[in-house]
């Protein structure tokens, strides 16, 4: 039976009254990415979407970023913000895995947005025994309420017709959110066109590394079993270069093995906007298993939440601007943060 097989929500950790607010390093792409990651079964290649309809502020995001995140040649279809119902119908009647991604980032809209503020939802349509037929899903009604698609989806998600399909931040309590950073709207807007003093990672090198940087895709050696990360086309254990199999490492649940907090003046130049917004920031070395450690910036956390021994999850965020575009990568967030477990 074809229908809705997964509905995932992502809400930022910060709130301004009852409205969630994106952190300074979040944008439409990172919020969509977080919602989509929650619906992806990383161990099953076939579960990757063949089509993604983008609704709301997602219409402005660069489809090639989403393709890199998914690691598959999915067809990305930007839809106008009023076309939520059309997108849902198209996804429900397509063949194979078809997705609808809805995102709202208030400061990227010209009009004031209604509750819940900033956030994203991913809807997966597929064949399966648990699939909710479109007519029973409530989604078509949500598309006609006049509220923003995201607000309507959250209303629906608080009392979903079949809870097992609806996962993520649907019932998140706004009173548990963190207060917004002191200057949430400054510093990390559109990528500055010319940052001459950043660590140079040219565009092609950035694109080449996205599978590792965004999805923690490592190489497991068929000869000796050693996992090499970041992958460099050769096993670091035995030197074989012909038996490497791409292997995703866990994005969540890693252990902090070293932790620092960078004060003003300790940051490289390209992190000046981060310091301008938050005053300081953390960096942790995280053991993600298989003998692999990754160096990550910290997001949405206070220093005491990411000390040595703490557990962290990771989320895709903006890192810093380079060559007029944002460089994206994963950051560590506390595993028990208000975003909830996955």
């Amino acid at each position: 039976m074809r229908g809705l097989t997964r509905a995932t929500a992502y809400l930022p950790s910060f709130a301004d009254g009852l409205r969630r607010r994106a952190a300074p390093d979040e944008d439409a792409f990172t919020m969509v990415a977080t919602a989509i990651e929650r619906a992806l079964d990383r161990s099953v290649a076939d579960a990757r979407p063949q089509t993604v309809h983008l609704v709301g502020d997602a219409g402005a995001l660069d489809p090639s970023l989403l393709a890199s995140l998914l690691g598959s040649p999915a067809e990305i279809v930007p839809a106008a913000s009023g076309a939520f119902a059309d997108a849902v119908r198209a996804a429900a009647s397509a063949e194979g895995a078809a997705w609808v991604a809805v995102v709202q980032r208030a400061d990227e809209r010209s009009d004031a947005s209604p509750a819940p503020g900033d956030g994203a939802v991913a809807l997966r349509f597929d064949d399966g025994p648990e699939a909710i037929p479109l007519a029973e899903s409530g989604l078509l009604r949500a598309g006609t309420t006049g509220a923003s698609p995201l607000a309507a989806l959250f209303e629906l998600g608080r009392a979903p017709p079949r809870p097992g399909v609806w996962v993520g931040d649907w019932a998140s309590d706004p009173t548990r959110a963190r207060p917004v950073p002191r200057s949430p709207r400054r510093g990390l807007g559109p990528a500055p066109a010319n940052v001459s003093e950043g660590a140079l990672v040219p565009g092609p090198r950035d694109e080449e590394a996205r599978a590792a940087r965004w999805r923690f895709l490592a190489d497991r050696c068929g000869a000796c079993g050693v996992v090499t990360f970041p992958p460099r086309g050769r096993c670091r254990g035995c030197g074989h270069d012909d038996r490497l199999a791409p292997t995703p490492l866990p994005l969540d649940g890693g252990e902090v093995v070293a932790s620092t907090w960078i004060g003003p003046g300790g940051q490289p130049t390209e992190f000046d906007p981060v310091v301008e917004v938050s005053g300081s920031y953390g960096v942790v070395l995280v053991d993600v298993g298989s003998g692999v450690r990754v160096t990550l910036s910290v997001a949405d956390a206070a220093p005491e939440e990411v000390r040595v021994g703490a557990r962290v999850n990771t989320r895709l965020r903006r890192l810093y601007p380079m060559e007029g575009r944002w460089r994206y990568g994963r950051k560590a967030v506390p595993a028990d943060g208000s975003g909830g477990p996955r």
Partner: protein
């Protein structure tokens, strides 16, 4: 191999002259710093010589700030006043000087030249704050560490957090290193910082990269140092008191700290020390003092353990006991080290050899280690990606 004087296994090379500028925030540009250091080094050779007898020149410099980033070794030839002298620049970040000295040792030990000069220079304080912070992070791993927001203060902050957590220690053990370094720097007229600090002052300094505070970090300094090396056979032609090279070791490690299995030390330092002690036929107990790479206080604790000067996990208590003080059991960095003397990147490894030259000849004035006969220089590139260890002895 047997060298003259000491009659021990080692390299057939000796230091016969050394010069040093003041380290600190200086008005001089890099050319002038180079000239001052090399002039002083050449003038220090007891029996003066004709500069045209130099066979090679080695320039150690990162090229901080981007000034004359290419072909800068030609400036060394110019400033020495021998424009046709064959020169080469050696760049291994903060270990540039240590590696340049080792290249020079190989040149004279192999018979390629009888006499060579090594100069290290860095001009760091004449660029904007933003450009300086950019350059302080160019020698770490760019694709992961730098993209996570780390410069070297941050990388060493990570290592310090691990070390303190692993051994159950607090920031006080780091402060002890700073107190010792500043006490020594106060006796060094070339040092960037010449004032002692108290443990309380060190602990109260603002956080740069937790757990590292300002007093855990070496300063950003201008400066230059130069040494003249001769083959062991010809050394006594230039002075009655050459300082001989006994052992040489060097090693590298994976650039990114995240790819190294052990966070409680630098494998490159351990390997370099093992090779140096082995080639010298010596062991740590034979040293009179050590010049170690203390760009951050945690770096000195790691160095003491990596070099085998104390056991793993013992560097904190050992430092607190006063063992590494100027009059302790094994003085470490009697010149104040990078921490108090300053760290003009390319100059540092050469400056360590300058100090050893003065100490082993008994000319280190107020900072003299009594009876110094043998010493080690340990120079680290970045956060342990490269390391050079060289052992010297009095003739």
């Amino acid at each position: 191999m047997t060298i003259g004087g000491a009659g021990v296994v080692g390299y057939r090379a000796a230091v016969v002259g050394a010069g040093h500028t003041r380290f600190g925030v200086l008005p001089q540009g890099p050319r002038q710093l180079l000239r001052e250091a090399t002039d002083a080094a050449l003038a220090s050779v007891d029996r003066g010589f004709d500069r045209s007898r130099l066979g090679r020149g080695y320039l150690a410099s990162l090229g901080f700030g981007g000034w004359q980033i290419g072909n800068s070794s030609a400036l060394l030839a110019e400033e020495i006043g021998v424009p046709q002298l064959a020169t080469v620049r050696v760049e291994n970040a903060c270990a540039s000087g240590g590696f340049a000295v080792q290249e020079a040792i190989r040149e004279v030990a192999s018979g390629g030249s009888d006499l060579v000069v090594v100069a290290g220079v860095e001009k760091m304080t004449d660029v904007s704050n933003a450009r300086r912070r950019y350059w302080l992070g160019v020698s770490g791993d760019t694709e992961w560490e730098r993209q996570a927001g780390l410069t070297f203060a941050g990388v060493y902050g990570l290592l310090a957090s691990r070390y303190l957590a692993h051994y159950g220690l607090g920031r006080e053990v780091l402060a002890e290193v700073a107190v010792k370094a500043h006490a020594n720097g106060a006796r060094n007229p070339n040092a960037h910082f010449q004032k002692p600090v108290s443990k309380e002052q060190a602990l109260a300094s603002p956080i740069v990269a937790d757990p590292l505070g300002l007093y855990d970090c070496c300063p950003v300094s201008d400066g230059a140092a130069a040494v003249v090396l001769a083959s062991a056979e010809s050394a006594r032609r230039w002075t009655d008191t050459p300082v001989y090279v006994e052992g040489v070791g060097a090693a590298s490690d994976r650039l990114a700290v995240q790819e190294r299995p052990d966070l409680l030390g630098f494998a490159a330092s351990r390997r370099a020390a093992e090779l140096a002690f082995r080639s010298a036929g010596r062991q740590p107990a034979d040293l009179s003092f050590a010049e170690v790479h203390d760009c951050f206080t945690i770096a000195e604790l790691l160095a003491l353990e990596d070099l085998g000067l104390c056991g793993r996990g013992e560097a904190g208590p050992w430092t607190a006991s006063g063992a590494t003080g100027r009059t302790g059991r094994l003085p470490v960095n009697p010149d104040g080290g990078l921490k108090a003397k300053g760290h003009p990147i390319g100059a540092t490894g050469v400056s360590q050899v300058y100090e050893i030259f003065q100490q082993l000849r008994g000319t280190a004035d107020a900072r003299q280690v009594p009876g110094a006969e043998r010493a080690l220089a340990h120079n680290v590139g970045g956060a342990g990606a490269t390391a050079a260890v060289t052992i010297f002895a009095r003739g």
